[in-house]
Amino acid sequence: MRVQDESGGWMSAAIPLRTSFQGLRRLVRRGDERYPREDVVAAVVCLLPAGLILGTFVFYPILWSGYLSLTSWNGFSPTVHFVGLANYAHLINDAVFWNSLSVTARYALGVVILNCSLGLIVAVGLDAPLRGRSLYRTIYFLPVVTSSVAAATIWGALFDTAGYANVLMGQLHLPQPDWLGNPSLALISLVMLTAWTSIGLNTVLYLTGLQAIPVPLYEAARLDGASAWQQLRHITFPLVAPTTFLVAVLSIINAFQAFDIVYVLTGGGPVGSTDVLGYFLYRTTFQFSQFGYGASIAYVVFAIIFSTTLIQWRLSGSGSSALG
C-alpha cells in the first residue's frame, strides 16, 4: 500500500507507520528533544481507528459499568440513582452471592483438578510413538471447537435420567442417579462436561511442555534404572510444572466466567447447587433488571480473577517460565 507524502510524492505506507512508532518511542523516553509535529500527527492518525474501536467497545463499557456499579438502575427508568458503595455493601451481606461464590470455587477446583490430570494423561499418551497419532490429536481437539451450547445440549441427553450415562450404569449394575436433578451431583456433572470441552486445548499445552523436555534426561534415568513411574514423577511432573501452572490459571479464569452450560443445563439449580457467579450475574442483571447491582458483581468477579492470577503468578516465580 502506498500513501502520499507531504511533498505530494508517493511512499510506502510502512514509512509513516514506522515514523509513528518512532514518534511514540520518543514520547515515552524521558529527556528526549521535542519530537517533530508530523510524527505526532502520523502517530495519532495511525492509532485513531484502533483507539476508537477499543475506546467504544472496551474502555467505555468498562468505565460505564464501573459507574453503573455505584448506581441503582432497573434499565427501564430514565433516572439513574447514585448510591455510592451501597451495591458492594449489599453484596457482602447477600447470602445468595456467598453461595454463588462457594459454588464457583468448588466448580473451579474440580475443573482445575480434572483439566490438569486429564490433559497430562492424554498428552503423555499422545506423546508416545503411536500409529495414527495425528488422528487421535484431532479427535481430542474436536470438543474445543464445538460450541459450548451444543456440547451442553449433547451432555444434557447423556445425563438424562434415561440417558446413555445411566444406560451404561445400569449395564454395570450400578445405581442410576439423576445427574442434573440431584443437588450433590449436578455440579460434578458440570465439571465433567467442562473438562471434556477443554481436554483438547490442555493436551496441546501439555504436549508442547512434554516435547520441550530434553530426551537425554529420560535416557540417563533409564540407564540409572528408573521405572516409568519414577521418570514421570521425577522428570515429567517437575518439568511440566510451568504448563500445569498455565492450565490451572486458564481453568480458574474460565471457571469464574462460566455461564452458558449452566444456563442450558441446570439454570443454577437444583437448590442453587450450580448457581455459579456468571449465572448469578446474568440473573441479577437481565432477569431481575438490577443493572447497578449486576455491575458490582461483575467488578467483584474481575477482582477475584485478577487477584487469583496475581497470587498464582507470585507463587510460581512470576510465571516467566510458563509464559515467557
Binding site: G75, T161, V271
Partner: protein, 422 residues
C-alpha cells in the same frame, strides 16, 4: 430527419423522467407507518403476519413493519431501545413486563382510544386486563391468554388399569391414580415442575388459589402465602415427592413418557396438536386442575399484552387502532383458533363458531377454556422476578428435605417482605 430524431430523443428522455414520477404519485403512499415488535414463532408468527396483512388491506393509509425479536431478548432490547429513544410504536410482550416497562414513562394510555373506538372493556376477562391497569390508566391490552391444567398419558393410564377418559377431579384422586401408576407401571405417577423457581410459582399458584389462598396481600406489600392454604398446597407437592410418586429432578419426565401425568400451560395443547414438527409423543388427555377437598376450581393465568409507545398523535393512534382491531371479538377468534391461545374476550368464548371449532379441532383445549374465568395471574409488580426466585428456592429446599414446609414458608416470607420493603 436528424432534427426529427433529436425531437424524438428529447421526448423519450422527458417521458422517462416524468413517468416514474407520475407512477410514484398515481398510488397513494401510506400516510402512517407503524413498527411492531413481537416474538411469536412458527404457527403464531405466520398467523400474525397474515392478520397484519389483512389489516393493511383494510386500512390502506397504514403501513406496518414487523420485527420479530427472540422472546428471551425482548426485555433487554426494549430497555436498550428506551434508553436510546428508539422504541417501536407497538410491542407484544409477556404481561408481567408491563409494570416494569411503564417505568420508562413511554407507554401510551389506551383508555381514550378505547372510548373513541367504543370498545367494551367489560368484554375482556378482568384478570387479563389487570396487568395493564396502572396509575389509573390502561397501559396494555391483553391479546391472548393461557392457563394451567392437567395433562395425562392415556396409554399409561390404561396400563395402570385406570380409565383413560377420566382424568382425576380431586387432589385425592390425583394421588390415588399416581400411586397406582407408580406401582403398576414403574413410571412416575405425577410430575410437578420443581426444576426452575419460576416454573414452581407458575405451576403451584393454581393449587394455592384453589384453596382460597393468596400469594401477597391485596395491596401487594407483604407476603400472604404462609397461611393454612399455603401450607396445605406446598405440602401436597412435597408429600408427593416424599411418597416417591413424583420426581424432584429435571422437568420433562412426562413429555418423555416417563410419568403418568403433569400440569402445564394450555399452550402445550396447541404445541402438540397444532405444530407439525412437534407432534405429541403419545396419546394424551387433558382435564381441569384437580381440586382439593373444600376448595374451588382455579388455575394460574398467563397473559400476553400489547403496549403502545408514545409518539406523534397520528402514529400513536394508528398503533392503538391496530391493537383494538387485533383484540376485537372476530379477530380474537381468528387469532386463537390456529394458534391455540386462549381468547381474551368473553364474547369470543361464548360464540357458537369458536365452540364448534373447539369441539372439532382442539377438544383437548376445552378444560382450559372453561377454567379461564376462574384463573388468576401472579402479582404484577416490578419485584416479581426476584420474589418468584426467592420463593422457588425455598420451595426447592422443602422438596429436597433440607427444610420443613413451615420453615421454608417462614423463610420465604422474611425474604419476600424484605424485597417488597425495597
Amino acid at each position: 430527419m436528424q432534427r426529427l430524431l433529436k425531437v424524438a430523443l428529447a421526448l423519450l428522455i422527458m417521458v422517462s423522467i416524468v413517468s416514474p414520477w407520475s407512477a410514484r404519485h398515481s398510488v397513494a403512499a401510506p400516510a402512517v407507518k407503524v413498527t411492531i415488535w413481537y416474538y411469536w414463532v412458527q404457527t403464531a408468527d405466520t398467523e400474525f403476519k397474515a392478520l397484519v396483512s389483512a389489516y393493511e388491506r383494510s386500512h390502506p393509509n397504514v403501513s406496518i413493519t414487523l420485527v420479530n425479536v427472540p422472546s428471551d431478548q425482548m426485555q433487554t432490547k426494549l430497555q436498550a431501545a428506551a434508553a436510546a429513544h428508539q422504541l417501536p410504536n407497538l410491542a407484544m410482550i409477556a404481561a408481567e413486563n408491563v409494570n416494569n416497562l411503564s417505568q420508562t414513562g413511554q407507554l401510551a394510555d389506551l383508555l381514550p382510544y378505547a372510548r373513541a373506538s367504543r370498545t367494551s372493556l367489560s368484554d375482556y376477562y378482568p384478570e387479563t386486563l389487570s396487568f395493564g391497569k396502572l396509575h389509573h390508566k390502561l397501559l396494555a391490552l391483553p391479546v391472548d391468554a393461557s392457563d394451567v391444567g392437567f395433562f395425562y398419558n392415556k396409554s399409561v393410564y390404561k396400563q395402570a388399569g385406570l380409565n383413560p377418559n377420566k382424568p382425576p377431579k380431586t387432589w385425592a384422586e390425583l394421588t390415588s391414580n399416581a400411586k397406582k401408576i407408580k406401582a403398576k407401571t414403574g413410571v412416575w405417577g405425577h410430575e410437578f415442575c420443581i426444576q426452575y423457581p419460576d416454573c414452581i410459582t407458575y405451576g403451584w399458584f393454581g393449587y394455592l388459589y384453589e384453596l382460597g389462598g393468596r400469594f401477597l396481600n391485596k395491596s401487594n406489600t407483604a407476603a400472604a402465602f404462609n397461611s393454612p392454604a399455603g401450607r396445605k398446597a406446598m405440602s401436597f407437592w412435597v408429600d408427593s415427592v416424599k411418597q416417591g410418586i413424583s420426581p424432584a429432578g429435571n422437568w420433562g419426565e412426562f413429555s418423555k413418557g416417563r410419568a403418568g401425568s403433569n400440569q402445564d400451560g394450555s399452550f402445550v395443547v396447541s404445541f402438540w396438536q397444532g405444530t407439525p414438527s412437534a407432534q405429541a409423543p403419545f396419546d394424551f388427555g387433558t382435564g381441569k386442575l384437580p381440586v382439593p377437598a373444600g376448595g374451588h376450581e382455579s388455575s394460574t393465568l398467563g397473559v400476553e399484552s400489547g403496549v403502545v409507545f408514545k409518539g406523534t398523535p397520528a402514529v400513536q393512534k394508528a398503533a392503538a387502532d391496530f391493537l383494538f382491531w387485533f383484540t376485537s371479538p372476530r379477530i380474537v377468534a381468528d387469532w386463537s383458533e390456529p394458534t391455540g391461545f386462549l381468547p381474551v374476550r368473553k364474547s369470543t368464548v361464548k360464540s357458537t363458531s369458536y365452540n364448534t371449532w373447539l369441539k372439532i379441532h382442539m377438544p383437548a383445549l376445552m378444560p382450559f377454556v372453561k377454567m379461564l374465568p376462574s384463573a388468576k395471574p401472579r402479582p404484577s409488580i416490578p419485584q416479581w422476578p426476584r420474589i418468584s426466585t426467592a420463593f422457588g428456592l425455598q420451595f426447592q429446599e422443602a422438596v429436597y428435605g433440607k427444610k420443613t414446609v413451615q420453615k421454608a414458608l417462614l423463610d420465604a416470607t422474611k425474604q419476600i417482605n424484605a424485597l417488597l420493603r425495597g
